[in-house]
Amino acid sequence: MDNFDPAAFAEYLSRQERKDLLRFLTCGSVDDGKSTLIGRLLYDTKLLFEDQLATLQKDSAKHGTVGEDIDFALLVDGLEAEREQGITIDVAYRFFATEKRKFIVADTPGHEQYTRNMATGASNADLAVILIDARKGVLTQTRRHSYIASLLGIKNVVLAINKIDLVGYSKDVFDQILADYGEFAHELAFESIQPIPMSARFGDNVTQRGESLGWYDGPTLLEHIETVDVRSSEAERPLRFPVQWVNRPNLDFRGYSGTIASGTVSVGEELVVAASGRTSTVKSIVTFDGEKNHAVAGEAVTLTLADEVDISRGDLLCDASERPEVADQFSAHLIWMHDDALVPGRNYLFKVGTKTVSGSVTEIKYNVDVNSFQHLAAKQVELNEVSVVNLSFREPIAFDAYADNPATGGFIVIDRLSNLTVGAGMIDFALRRAANIHWQAVDLDKHRRGDAMGQRPAAIWFTGLSGAGKSTVANLVEKRLFALGKHTYLLDGDNVRHGLNRDLGFTEADRVENIRRVAETARLFVDAGVIVLCSFISPFRSERQLARDLLEPGEFVEVFVDTPLHVAEKRDPKGLYKKAREGRIKNFTGIDSPYEAPERAEVTLAGGMAAPEDLADQVVDYLREHGYI
C-alpha cells in the first residue's frame, strides 16, 4: 500500500464531502452512441477497474461492433438480450466522479418501444444529454425525447452532436443541425441548451478537446456537466411534507415520518394538514442523530406536533400560509406506458406522493404529436403516447401543479387488476376552481364521509307485498351501484331477522319494533356515508313515516314496488300465501292484514309489468337525477 498519510486522507474526505451530485440522463435515437458515450466517460475518468476492462475486452471480441477497438457500449448494456442485439432496452445507472462533482447517469434506450424507460430515467434527472448522429440530424426520437425531457421538467440540455468524425468534423453540418433543433426547441421549456460537437468513439470533446474541432470554442461535455448550475429551488418553495409512516413506538410518542419534499420546517412553526384544514405547531423534529431545530428539503425526518391531530399516511403537512390546492378533478399530462391502451372511465389507482387514490380518466382532451407538437383529437391513448386528459379521483387530494412542485404534482397510474404501472402523469391544474377554497376544519359528518365516497348517503326504502319483487330489485340496484364504485349495504328480512331482530315475532308490536330497529340501523349507515337499501314489506304508513322521520329531508327515498296481489300470490316464492290462505299464518299482509300503499313514494315501480332489470334501472336513474350518485 502507498504510504498512508492520515492528514492528507482527512483532507481528501472533507473534499469528497463537499462535492455535490448531478444526476443526468443520456437519450436520443437508436445508434446515436449513448452507451458508447458513457463508456467513454467512465474510461476517461478512470472509473474502470482492471478486471472490468478485461471482461470488456473479452466481450468486445465476442459481441463488439467496432472491429478491434474496445466497444464501450458493452460496458453499460448489461442484459444478455441487450448485448446480443446490440441495443439498450432498459435504463442503466452508472456512477462516476471527478474532482468537482459526483455523477449518476441514466443511460436510456433509444427505441421508440422503450420510451417509457426513457421517461423513467428522465424523472430523476437534473440534465439531459440528447445525442444526435451528425450523419442523420434531428430525428423523430430526438424530438420525442426532447419533448418528454421538457415535460418532466428538465431545464438543462446538452445537445451532443455525435459521430462528427464521420462527417469530416464539419462545422456546416453542426450549424445546420443546431438550426434544425432550435426551430422546434424554442417551444419547449428549456432554460439552457449547450450544443457540443463530439466523437464518443474517439473521445473528441467528451473529456478532452478534439484536435480536429478547432472551430469549436465551447466546453467539452465533462467541463460543462462539472460546472453547469442546476441548483434546484426545492428549499425555497413552500413546505410540503408527505406523511409516509406514523411512528408510534409507545403510547407517549406519536411522530410522522417522511421526507421533506420542498421547503424547510422549524420547531414552533405552524403547519396545516392540507386535506382536513387542521392546524398545529411543530413540537420536535426527531432523528436518530438527535433532535433538530430545523430541517430542509431532501431530509428524511420524523415530526411531532403540539396537538392531537388526526394524521395518517398520505396526508400532506404544509406551511399554513402557503397551502396547496385540494381537489378531486384535474387536468393533467399523461404518458401511457402499457401495451393495453388507456380506457377512459375505467378505474385505475393513482399514486401521488404517499397517497394512493382510485379514480379514472373522464376525458381525453387531445394527444400530442411528439414530432410536430400538434394537438390530435383522440379516443384512446396508446403505449408511449402523450395525452392531455381530465381526471376524476374518488376523494380530494392536496396537490401543487407539477410545474410548481414535481413532488406533489407528479403521479403514477397503476392498473388495479394486473398491478402494473401503466402510466405517469403531471397535474396541470384543478378543474373546479371552486376547489381552491381550502377545507376548513370541521368535524367528520355524514356529508364529508359521503363526499369521500363520492356519493350522497341515503336510505332507499323498498316497500310492497310479499313476493312483489322488492329484494330482487334491491339486489340489482345494489349491484349497479357497486359497479359504479358506490358504497352500499342491503338490509332485508333475511339478514335482520336472524340477528338484530331474532327476539321479535310477528305480533303487531313486534312488527313495529322490527321496523323501528331497521330504521335506526339504516340511519347509522346513512351517517356512515353509505347508501343503504332496505327491503321490507313495511305495510303501514306510520311505520314508514317513522323511518322517514329519523332521517333528514332527502335522505329517505321510498320505492313502492307496486305489484298487484294476484301476481305476487301467483309467484308465492316462499309458499307463504298458500299457508296464509289455509289459515296457517295469521296477519299475513294482503290476505288478512292490510297493505297501506304509499301516497307520495319517490319512486313507484310497476311490478309484474316490466323485467326486474328495467325496474332497477328506474331506481338508479332516479338516484342519478337527484344527485345521490
Binding site: F49, V76, T259, A300
Partner: protein
C-alpha cells in the same frame, strides 16, 4: 415562507442525500407491505442497510425481522457478529438453512460453486421467503456492483416463483414506487441502489458503523488457489496434497461463504486505511467472489432464478 428558507437544499451533502433516499425507500416498504423482511448477509452493505433501518424508524425499532440465509459455510466471525447486530437493533432474527441441501451433503467442494450457490443460497432464500410469506424483502445490492444490477429497479418485482423478468420491469418514476403485488408475488427492495462502494465506506467511516473484523487486515491462515487467497476458517476446507495453510496479512473486500471468498493481501487495519486502499484499488469488488467469474451474464442468470 419561514425565515429559515435561506437554508439551501444544496447544503445536504452527497451522503446525506443518499441516506435520506434510502430511508424513504425503507419507510415506503414498511408502510405499504403486509409482511416485509430485511435480508441480512452480514457484509458491510448489510451493516449500512441495518444502520439506515435503525435511523428510518427511530425511535421505533425497525418494524420487520432480519433474515439470514445460512449456507453453513459463513466465516465464524460473521455468525457471532450477526447475532450481536440483531440484538443491538432490537430486531427478530430468522436464520434459514436449506435442510435438504445439508442432508444431501451439498458443499462448495463436492458440487462446485455454481450448484452449491444455487441450492444453498438461491433455493434456500426462495424457500424462506415462501415459508414465511414475506411480500417484500430488502436487499443491500447496489447498482454499481455489476451490469445487470445497474438495470434493476429500486422496487423490483418478483413472480410467485421468485423470478425476475429484466425485460419487463415496471416503470419507476420519481420516488413513486409501485408496491402492489398479488398473493405469493413479492417485491425486492434495494434501498442502497444508488450508493457506490466508496460511498459505503465513507458512510461507515462517518457514522462509525460496526463491521465484521474480517474487513480489517490481520494475520490469518490462507491457501493460494488459482491466484486467489482462500482463508482456512475451519477444518472442513479440504487441502490438496502438499498444500498447507500459511499465515499472511490479509483482509476481505467482500464477505460470503469462506471457501468462495478470496482475500487480499493488505496491511490496512483501520477504516481510514481501508478507504484509502479503496481509492487506489484497480480491481472491482465482485472479483473477490468466485461465483461471478463464469461469464459476463452470470449474475443476470442467477437473478432471473431468484438470487439476490
Amino acid at each position: 415562507m419561514s425565515a429559515t428558507s435561506a437554508i439551501k437544499a444544496q447544503e445536504l451533502t452527497h451522503l446525506q442525500r443518499l441516506e435520506a433516499e434510502s430511508i424513504h425507500v425503507m419507510r415506503e416498504v414498511a408502510a405499504e407491505f403486509r409482511n416485509p423482511v430485511m435480508l441480512y448477509s452480514i457484509g458491510k452493505d448489510s451493516s449500512v442497510m441495518l444502520h439506515l433501518a435503525k435511523k428510518a424508524f427511530y425511535p421505533s425499532p425497525p418494524p420487520f425481522p432480519l433474515l439470514h440465509v445460512d449456507t453453513t459455510w459463513k466465516f465464524r466471525e460473521m455468525i457471532a457478529f450477526r447475532d450481536q447486530a440483531a440484538r443491538d437493533a432490537r430486531m427478530d432474527l430468522i436464520v434459514h438453512t436449506n435442510q435438504d441441501g445439508v442432508k444431501q451433503g451439498v458443499t462448495p467442494f463436492t458440487h462446485g460453486s455454481s450448484v452449491y450457490t444455487n441450492i444453498m443460497k438461491t433455493d434456500a432464500l426462495k424457500e424462506a421467503l415462501t415459508k414465511y410469506g414475506f411480500d417484500a424483502a430488502f436487499g443491500g445490492a447496489r447498482r454499481d456492483e455489476e451490469k445487470s444490477r445497474a438495470k434493476e429497479r429500486i422496487f423490483s418485482f418478483r413472480t410467485e416463483n421468485h423470478g425476475w423478468d429484466p425485460k419487463n420491469q415496471r416503470p419507476e418514476l420519481w420516488n413513486l414506487y409501485n408496491a402492489r403485488v398479488r398473493k405469493g408475488e413479492s417485491i425486492r427492495a434495494f434501498p442502497l441502489s444508488n450508493w457506490t462502494e466508496l460511498d459505503i465506506w465513507q458512510y461507515i467511516l462517518k457514522e462509525d458503523i460496526p463491521i465484521v473484523p474480517l474487513y480489517f487486515a490481520a494475520k490469518r491462515p490462507v491457501v493460494e488457489r488459482d491466484g486467489m487467497l482462500i482463508m482456512v476458517d475451519d477444518e472442513r476446507l479440504p487441502l490438496a496434497p502438499g498444500e498447507s495453510p500459511e499465515m499472511r496479512l490479509i483482509r476481505f473486500r467482500t464477505l460470503g461463504c469462506y471457501p468462495l471468498t478470496a482475500a487480499m493481501e493488505s496491511p490496512a487495519a483501520s477504516l481510514p486505511e481501508i478507504v484509502h486502499e479503496m481509492l487506489i484499488a484497480r480491481t472491482s469488488e465482485r472479483s473477490g467472489r468466485l461465483i461471478d467469474h463464469d461469464e459476463a451474464g452470470s449474475m443476470e442468470k442467477k437473478k432471473r432464478e431468484g438470487y439476490f
